[in-house]
């Protein structure tokens, strides 16, 4: 009885995606597609965090860190020249596995870099591994202590990227190449993650496709046995443990999963933007993700998706101007004060009460 509703919602999201494209095409505002593409990738981070925070009840103010690990690693591996290290055993090993691509830089010098696919897998795996190593000790903490620890983690990641010459210090990494996801097949051209204007529509569909797929998987998860376990430990770890649920393991699994979501979004957005800078790793970004989950309604994955993509889109369009961070900070405070269950949940309940008298006592 629940599955059809989930599928209908996902189908509606697909229609919205096509509708957005047609709307921009009809009104001659196709430049919106660029920000819609970026918003979809940020949306992926936010729904991943939504499962961790809303369903499992574990806060993380360090998810920009995982996003940045994904983005920076993909950027560095696909741009940093390995030619001088060609004879190093590690480089030779990577080469023999076919993970390296030779090319030329803008001055015509030989360039040897990791292929985008290999870089993507390495970056996402490393983010997952970091989440695993960090998660074991940190997830023993609860509430404010967990928030502080993840905040500390996020700060460390930010400082590392800001201080390393390898990661471009304050400049970040630019000229990240396009990411050919799929080669040309039959009558279709190749699927490439790239910010070029000629790839704009394609990239919009790639980003929203990834978001919809990511959403479908998370919706599956929260309706599953593990999803029930997560929701149960949210409200009573003692009772969850007594029901045979290995709560520590469960929390760790979803922490790693949400880190992988963030890192994947980081990789794809970095290829789309053609670069990444340290602001992506900043604590303010982490706070923003938390604010978006909160305003979306915590245990409301659809609300989280709508708010995550919608507000991020407005922010990217510059609607909030120079007060961007202020707006998201204010949103977080307002949500916590007035509607701890999120804006959408508030309205839905009110409507339900009006439409069906006595529906909620």
């Amino acid at each position: 009885m629940r599955t059809p509703r989930k599928n209908i919602s996902l189908a509606a999201l697909c229609l919205v995606t096509v509708g957005l494209h047609l709307l921009t095409a009809a009104t001659g505002t196709q430049y919106y597609l660029t920000q819609l593409t970026m918003a979809a990738y940020y949306g992926l981070v936010v729904i991943g965090l939504g499962v961790l925070m809303g369903y499992a009840g574990q806060i993380s103010i360090g998810h920009a860190g995982f996003f940045a690990i994904g983005g920076y690693l993909a950027a560095a591996l696909t741009t940093r020249n390995l030619e001088p290290f060609r004879d190093a055993p590690l480089v030779r090993g990577l080469d023999s596995l076919g993970l390296l691509a030779a090319g030329q830089d803008i001055y015509g010098a030989a360039l040897l870099t990791v292929t985008p696919w290999a870089a993507c897998l390495l970056a996402v795996s490393l983010a997952g591994l970091v989440a695993l190593v960090i998660g074991v000790p940190v997830l023993k903490l609860r509430g404010h202590y967990l928030a502080m620890a993840t905040l500390g983690f996020g700060t460390i990641v930010y400082r590392i990227f800001l201080a390393s010459p390898y990661f471009g210090e304050a400049d970040g990494i630019a000229e990240v190449p396009a990411f050919p996801l799929l080669p040309a097949l039959g009558g279709f051209g190749p699927v490439v993650v790239s910010g070029g204007a000629e790839h704009r529509v394609l990239n919009f569909y790639v980003a929203w496709g990834v978001l919809i797929l990511g959403m479908a998987l998370l919706l599956n998860l929260i309706g599953s046995r593990v999803g029930r376990a997560l929701r149960s430990l949210h409200s009573s770890e003692e009772a969850a443990e007594a029901s045979g649920i290995a709560t520590a393991r469960c929390k760790l699994q979803v922490f790693v999963l949400s880190a992988v979501y963030a890192a994947l979004a980081g990789v794809l957005l970095t290829h789309f933007n053609g670069g990444i800078g340290p602001s992506e790793a900043s604590v303010m970004k982490s706070v923003r993700y938390v604010a978006l989950v909160a305003v979306g309604g915590m245990t409301n994955l659809w609300g989280t998706l709508i708010m995550g993509v919608g507000l991020t889109f407005l922010s990217l369009r510059g609607v909030f101007g120079a007060h961007d961070d202020v707006v998201f900070g204010a949103i977080l405070i307002a949500v916590m004060l007035f509607t701890p269950e999120g804006m959408l949940s508030l309205r839905l309940k009110e409507w339900a009460r009006r439409l069906i008298p006595g529906a909620r006592s």
Partner: protein
Amino acid sequence: MSGGNGQTMGGGQEPLLALHGVHKRFGGLHAVNDVSFSVAPGSIKAVIGPNGAGKTTLFNLIAGNLPVSAGTITFRGEEIQGKKTHAIARLGMARTFQNIKLFHGMTALECVMVGRHVRSRSGLFAGLFSLPSTWKEERAIRTRAMELLDFLQIADLAHVEATSLAFGQQRAVEMARALAAEPKLLLLDEPAAGLNIYETAEVARLITTVRDMGITVLLVEHDMSLVMDISDEILVLSFGAKLAEDTPANIQKNTEVINIYLGADDAA
């Protein structure tokens, strides 16, 4: 004082649960002091004692919520002191809580489905990708959970949020959740607390039915008539130590128990 052989009434049968010289200290407080006893399979055993006697602490030691300070706890032939709560649950122990612990934002049915956790296996990846292998399991979990709600006569409340139910109904959901694990041993922490006389009679019937289904029951309870009616054996705790362990009939005659626990005027 009463260490050594805890197998007082086991009748030669291997006990399902056995405690040997169990101690629990919280700083200077000796909450459980050298307690030994065993629970025979298929029996109902009650733990009674005045407030602060260490009954709930004893439960928390058995269920693995607290580490023992000394002593051993054997469940189904395996030493379980030091094991994690979920590992002990997996061995076949389920429990209810004195202050009900149901899950917020979940329906009664979902709460009971959580209780099926140990009887199902699909993991994170199977859940994410909704693999066909999970469909059958999910249906089985749902069906069994519905049967249990039906058994506890609250099937009509299956889709109501569990924490919004009436008190007695919440107790029933907790019981269904515990039974969903198909445990060998069921720990009930004050199953009749807050219930009226009719509901208590219902609980008594339920506990004996559960016992007849082959589930051994260990309960902490304040309601003396309930304890005397249904228990095969009673363990009396006082200030963390074992005061007596006997049949209900003998406990009622035990002057020490009457004086210390029931009070001289309250002899049944």
